[in-house]
């Protein structure tokens, strides 16, 4: 029992969960003070949607959760980060909507689909994958540092999106486009299901990633490449191919996140869309207890990390903190979380726990 407990305490996931708990506790206190209400209240609204602060976290978190999946694998095997994901999201959205509208784009608006919706969503993902192929080529084959390699698309993809859209916001009229990033509606526009669809998209992406990594050697390969690429190569793992694959997967995740982003606002805003989201995605991986220096990783940790970030943002926003001041409060909380999770502190915590147990044990013997 004690060994099981200390194993839990030592695990990365435990600390990630503790941090999420702390952020939610902060939300509850701040929300209670500013609004005299319960942060966890969930009600069914007249529009047949579940509402409340907690539901808002679920509404806004999925893009970040999905991006964190790709980022986790990239960080694990390449010991770097893909900073292009936000720009790639915007580019996939621009190309996807352009294809969806085809010749039907009039006055910067898609009135009717030119191709089936599924095909357009395929285009979103294909653009993401292509960007991943490019990033992966630079990192795996040309051995460019990930940060530098992805800097190219970080700058270039958003600019390319502006070229595709002509610098405007392209809007999509048909309601079915909104289903994946909002609620599914019937023909009269009434919501059929009270939970936002993107939550299920995120669950599917996370589950699929976890299953593939569990039932193939890929998960192990990625980790061993991240720990020691040379040794892995000697063992017969194609480390360059593994890294390449991780970047392609990261691009695919950006494409899927791009679908949700554009569906949510039924338009593509290449100027302001997905700004700085890459930083949140990297932070999600770190908050999940994963090392950005590569090696072992925990997908669950990254999911918890992403939700932690969203819980913090949504919590502060519902508490009435000004959006432009938010990064400041975020920074404070992140500093605290990072200190809690630091590798120096974790063994210290488990040592303290062990000492306490020993102490209480002695007491029992004495009395």
């Amino acid at each position: 029992m004690p060994s099981a407990l200390s194993r839990v305490v030592k695990s990365r996931l435990f600390f990630a969960l503790v941090c999420l708990g702390l952020v939610l506790a902060l939300d509850v206190v701040v929300f209670a003070i500013t609004n005299q209400q319960n942060f966890f209240k969930i009600e069914l609204s007249p529009a047949n949607t579940l509402t409340g602060p907690l539901m808002q976290i679920l509404y806004w978190a999925p893009e970040l959760v999905i991006l964190a999946m790709g980022m986790t694998l990239v960080a694990s095997c390449s010991a770097g980060a893909d900073i292009s994901v936000g720009s790639v999201m915007v580019l996939s959205g621009a190309v996807g909507i352009k294809i969806l509208g085809g010749n039907n784009i009039e006055n910067f608006k898609v009135e009717e689909y030119a191709v089936p919706l599924v095909l357009a969503f395929g285009a979103f993902i294909a653009v993401g994958a292509l960007c991943g192929v490019w990033n992966g080529f630079l990192v795996a084959k040309l051995k460019v540092q990930p940060m530098v390699a992805t800097l190219i698309l970080f700058i270039g993809a958003r600019a390319a999106a502006k070229v595709v859209t002509g610098g405007t916001i392209l809007r999509v009229e048909p309601k079915s486009f909104r289903w994946l990033g909002n609620y599914i509606t019937d023909s009269e526009g009434n919501n059929i299901f009270p939970v936002p669809t993107q939550v299920f998209v995120a669950i599917v992406v996370v589950a699929a990633t976890a299953l593939v990594l569990r039932f193939t050697a890929l998960g192990t390969n990625i980790q061993s490449v991240g720990i020691n690429a040379k040794a892995s190569k000697i063992m017969g793992i194609r480390s360059d191919r593994t890294i390449w694959l991780a970047f392609v997967f990261c691009g695919v995740c950006a494409g899927i996140a791009g679908i949700i982003m554009t569906s949510k606002i039924s338009s593509i805003d290449s100027q302001w869309g997905a700004r700085m989201i890459e930083l949140d995605a990297i932070l999600a991986v770190a908050l999940g207890g994963n090392s950005l220096a590569g090696g072992k990783f925990s997908l669950a940790g990254s999911v918890v990390g992403a939700i932690t970030i969203q819980a913090l943002k949504t919590g502060l926003l519902t508490a009435g903190v000004r959006a432009e001041q938010m990064p400041f409060y975020q920074a404070i909380v992140v500093v605290i979380i990072v200190i809690i999770q630091s590798p120096e502190l974790r063994p210290m915590a488990s040592r303290t726990l062990a000492r306490m147990r020993k102490f209480s044990g002695k007491k029992v013997v004495k009395s």
Binding site: F31, T34, N35, Q37, S45, P46, A47, N48, T49, T51, G52, P53, Q56, Y59, W60, N107, F108, K109, K162, G166, G167, T168, I169, L170, R171, N182, Y183, M261, K264, I265, S267, D269, Q271, W272, G273, T314, L317, T318, G320, R322, A323, E324
Partner: protein, 358 residues
């Protein structure tokens, strides 16, 4: 007065810092080209040296004024529409030849382009500056070369002696017009000022558009005894507006507020999304927006948005006509503001066909 100056300085400072990403109106959609002007002056030359039908600014007297136009870039749809309006009006049929300089968001490029205009013999230079910094030497060169300069869109602070006049949108005026509209609405519907409880979605903090529109509202609130229930920035973006509104709605009751004031169309779309997501009907509230994109004007027609204070990117024709008047010797007051109105149910049918963007 003191605070106004301070706010203006701060707004200018922020505009400098964020110049690349900002548009004058924070809106993001371009306009269809306006019809060519019908009252164009005759483009025929009188043949006399130094004077023409185009006035004193047509120095070589060929009946065509060569205009160098220094544009910030094409960072937004508002900007694209703005550029197009210049390209459409400054044509030989209207007595102009346009040299177009796209600075692509770069300050140094913009100044180099203005220098090029001077050396290439532009007869008038129109500057829509990216920032307020470092213009004095360039403007002095233009002045020494005897080339009149017009400042459009964003105002160059403290350099009035170097340009003929400033022309652009009056952001504070837009705020004031929206307030006046609300006062009229209250009177017409027998509402009381104490009923006016406002959710205020602000634009990108520090931008001219946000500062002016917020100042207008806050003055109206003070004057009429209205209440601002919640204030949050949606940074001119639809998803940010939606997130801000959703967060506000989770902490207020539907009966707590009566007015939604959003400082551009996109944030208002987002706010409406957030309201309908929790089962509130925007038609039950007074919704006020700014800019006047086509979709937003359509929403006025559908009764979803109650009023839009216009911010029109189509400055080209107005600037062109002012240049003609100045060239004929008329003194144009500085600042001169773009003609803008409030769009509501009374004039929406006339405004819908000519609305810009999507």
């Amino acid at each position: 007065m003191k605070t106004t100056t301070l706010t203006k300085i701060m707004a200018a400072a922020c505009a400098m810092t964020f110049a690349v990403g900002l548009t004058a109106c924070g809106s993001d959609t371009p306009a269809p080209p306006p019809p060519p002007s019908s009252d164009a002056p005759p483009a025929t030359s009188t043949g006399n040296t130094g004077s023409s039908a185009m006035g004193a600014w047509d120095k070589n007297g060929d009946g065509i004024i060569v205009v160098g136009f220094a544009q910030t870039g094409s960072e937004s749809g508002w900007r694209t529409a703005n550029t197009q309006s210049f390209k459409d009006y400054f044509i030989p049929a209207n007595g102009f030849d346009l040299k177009f300089g796209d600075a692509n968001g770069d300050d140094a490029t913009q100044k180099a382009q203005v220098r090029d205009f001077i050396s290439q013999g532009a007869e008038v230079i129109v500057i829509q500056p990216l920032s307020n910094d470092g213009w004095e030497p360039v403007l002095k060169e233009a002045k020494d070369a005897g080339i009149p300069v017009i400042n459009s869109d964003r105002r160059l602070q403290g350099l009035d002696q170097y340009y003929e006049f400033f022309f652009g949108s009056d952001m504070r005026g837009e705020g004031d017009r929206a307030v006046a509209w609300l006062e009229g609405y209250i009177a017409a519907n027998n509402l009381s000022n104490s009923d006016i409880k406002i959710i205020h979605l602000q634009g990108q903090m520090g931008s001219d558009a946000q500062a002016g529109r917020t100042e207008g509202l806050e003055a109206g609130v003070q004057k009429n005894g209205w209440t601002i229930l919640k204030q949050q920035t949606g940074e001119f973006a639809r998803d940010k507006g939606q997130a801000a509104m959703a967060a506000i709605l989770s902490s207020v009751q539907p009966t707590d507020f009566t007015v939604v004031w959003g400082e551009n169309d996109d944030m208002v779309y987002g706010a409406i999304d957030a309201m309908t997501a929790v089962g509130l009907d925007p038609k039950d509230y007074i919704v006020i927006s700014f800019d006047g994109n086509k979709s937003a004007v359509q929403m006025v027609k559908d009764g979803i948005i109650d009023a839009i204070a216009e911010c029109n990117p189509l400055l080209g024709e107005q600037v062109g006509k002012l240049i003609l008047r100045a060239s004929q010797g008329e003194k144009i007051p500085s600042p001169t503001f773009s003609q803008e109105e409030v769009i509501d149910s009374t004039n929406v049918d006339a405004k819908l066909p000519i609305a810009f963007g999507s």
